[in-house]
């Protein structure tokens, strides 16, 4: 417990330094927020354009897909806010600046991730919440305290899955030169997570449920709220999948960190 408090305090200290340095670039923050909003709005527009031509997508209506997308947005918020430094990992590793993170008596992953907080992630949070409310209203879903609590657990689990997939992809840089395509592919795959996994069959449905579990980023957990009457058994495994994949990501990270030898400069 003591160490948890210590880490919380450290996080605030390290992160506030970063936020202070970013505050110099107010214009950049504003433009970036607009860019972030644009990317979500564009996805909704794509859905809208598609649903002009089809009544439903494998049995799911526009508003249901919108709900899944809102769920997806919310589940990537922690990744966006607190783990965004993962994108810089390959530069730190190649240029040797990663060595800095070995030199403090604190957890390396914690130190590395706390070095940056992506404040523009608030846009995803705001858009996610408003879309979730809009879609719920359109679908006539009822919310109570218990269901909000469930939503919290579901989002916690799915955000761990989102974090883990990208972390493992980023760790490729410890072993490979030029690992950007690995992250790029991880993002491309993740972009399919707001879609019903039932658009896939056979190999891909297996892949996205058990191996690269993007199904647990939005599709499976959101059915708890969308169709409470017919929740698939898989949905209840969300917390297990979340914690399990984070444990795996942490293991891969440690393997990478332990065999990294620096650049010699």
């Amino acid at each position: 417990m003591r160490s948890l408090l210590r880490y919380a305090r450290l996080y605030l200290l390290i992160t506030s330094q970063y936020v202070k340095s970013r505050m110099q670039y107010r214009a950049d923050f504003l433009i970036s927020s607009v860019g972030m909003a644009f990317s979500s709005v564009a996805t909704v527009l794509v859905f809208w354009v598609l649903f002009r031509s089809i009544p439903d997508l494998v049995g799911w209506s526009f508003n249901e897909i919108l709900f899944m997308y809102a769920f997806y947005l919310l589940s990537v918020v922690p990744l966006q806010l607190f783990f965004d430094h993962i994108w810089q990992l390959r530069f730190h590793v190649v240029e040797g600046t990663f060595i800095k993170y070995y030199l403090r008596p604190i957890n390396i992953m914690f130190y590395y991730m706390s070095d940056m907080i992506d404040i523009k992630g608030w846009v995803k949070l705001a858009l996610g919440v408003s879309m979730l409310i809009y879609a719920s209203q359109r679908l006539g879903l009822s919310w109570n305290l218990w269901r909000v609590f469930l939503l919290g657990i579901a989002l916690f689990s799915s955000s761990l899955v989102a974090i883990s997939i990208l972390t493992i992809a980023a760790c490729a840089t410890f072993w490979i030169i030029g690992s950007f395509p690995v992250m790029d592919l991880a993002i491309k795959i993740r972009d399919f997570s707001p879609y019903p996994m039932t658009i896939f069959d056979g190999f891909f449905r297996f892949l996205f449920t058990y191996l690269i579990p993007i199904g647990f980023v939005a599709f499976y957990p959101s059915q708890l709220f969308l169709r409470p009457g017919e929740v698939p058994v898989l949905t209840y495994f969300s917390p297990v999948v979340g914690i399990g994949s984070f444990a795996l990501a942490y293991f891969v990270w440690n393997r990478g960190v332990n065999q990294y030898t620096g650049t010699g400069s």
Binding site: Q24, Y25, A27, D28, L30, I31, S32, S33, V34, G35, M36, F38, S39, A42, L45, V46, V49, L50, R52, S53, I54, L57, V58, K120, I176, I177, G178, S179, F180, P181, V182, D184, L185, K188, I189, F192, Y195, T198, I199, F200, D201, F204
Partner: protein, 263 residues
């Protein structure tokens, strides 16, 4: 001219260094095409044609959009911004070369790399593996030229975006916004035929459709005549001209405010 060719050659060689990178990009692209196949398969589950497009046409359209995406991604905006932040821009500017052509020739090396190593193999697999057989008309003859023009339009936009980093510290926001607008409004995600009529008419007046929609239309519409194709390529060429001139004009303005930190 010789120096520009040398620049293009060196960026091609630099790209070759990352062989893992390219093989993985290729695998990633193929996987992505497979996912699109499923997605569009389920969109077309109950219908034969949507907005006059068959499944085959729509699938080839979006899948090839992915291949074109790796082709027209010039990274020129990021490169200019990176050079400004690192100070290397000074070395670029004192070279007795035209800055726009200098930036262009550096991206051309990547273009050749991406076309030979990623775009062509992806397209080949698309036709062999997915059996995506489409009727082609005379448009096929125009495709190479349309692709080159698409690349030039994309570069000219990226160049202008890159120049904005003379004014701001980071271009993440503006570059991301550009990329989203380009992919959405050019038909890279959903064929333009799916958009409402008003939107379609509006989008034809914007440069973005010159990047994806024109080459893809030339390829997937068998009933286009020589005249239609020439007209489509004409609009592309017009955009290349307009955007290149705009970029040159912007450069003379922007280079006046350039500040370089340290060295």
């Amino acid at each position: 001219m010789k120096s520009y060719v040398a620049l293009a050659r060196s960026s091609y060689m630099a790209a070759m260094m990352y062989r893992f990178s390219f093989s993985f990009t290729l695998i990633g692209n193929l996987l992505y095409i497979a996912l699109l196949y499923y997605l569009w398969g389920s969109i077309y589950r109950d219908v034969e044609t949507i907005r006059g497009m068959s499944f085959n046409q729509a699938f080839v359209y979006v899948a090839l959009a992915g291949a074109i995406f790796t082709m027209v991604k010039t990274w020129a905006d990021w490169e200019i911004s990176y050079h400004i932040r690192s100070g290397a821009i000074i070395m670029d500017l004192i070279k007795p070369l035209d800055f726009q052509l200098y930036a262009l020739s550096r991206t051309v090396g990547f273009l050749f790399f991406n076309v030979t190593m990623i775009a062509l193999p992806s397209a080949l697999v698309l036709f062999l593996l997915f059996g995506a057989n489409i009727e082609v008309g005379v448009g096929l003859l125009f495709l190479p030229a349309a692709l080159v023009l698409a690349f030039l339009v994309s570069f000219a936009i990226d160049y202008i975006i890159g120049l904005t980093s003379f004014y701001t510290e980071s271009i993440w926001g503006i570059s991301t916004t550009k990329e989203i607008i380009t992919t959405l409004l050019s038909g890279a995600l959903v064929p333009l035929q799916f958009f409402p009529d008003v939107a379609q008419r509006l989008l034809r007046f914007l440069p973005f459709q010159a990047i994806y929609h024109v080459p893809l239309t030339v390829l997937t519409s068998p009933d286009l005549g020589v005249k239609d194709c020439a007209a489509l390529l004409g609009t592309q060429a017009a955009w290349v001209l307009i955007l290149f001139v705009l970029g040159r004009f912007f450069f003379t303005r922007a280079s006046r405010v350039l500040t370089v930190s340290g060295g």
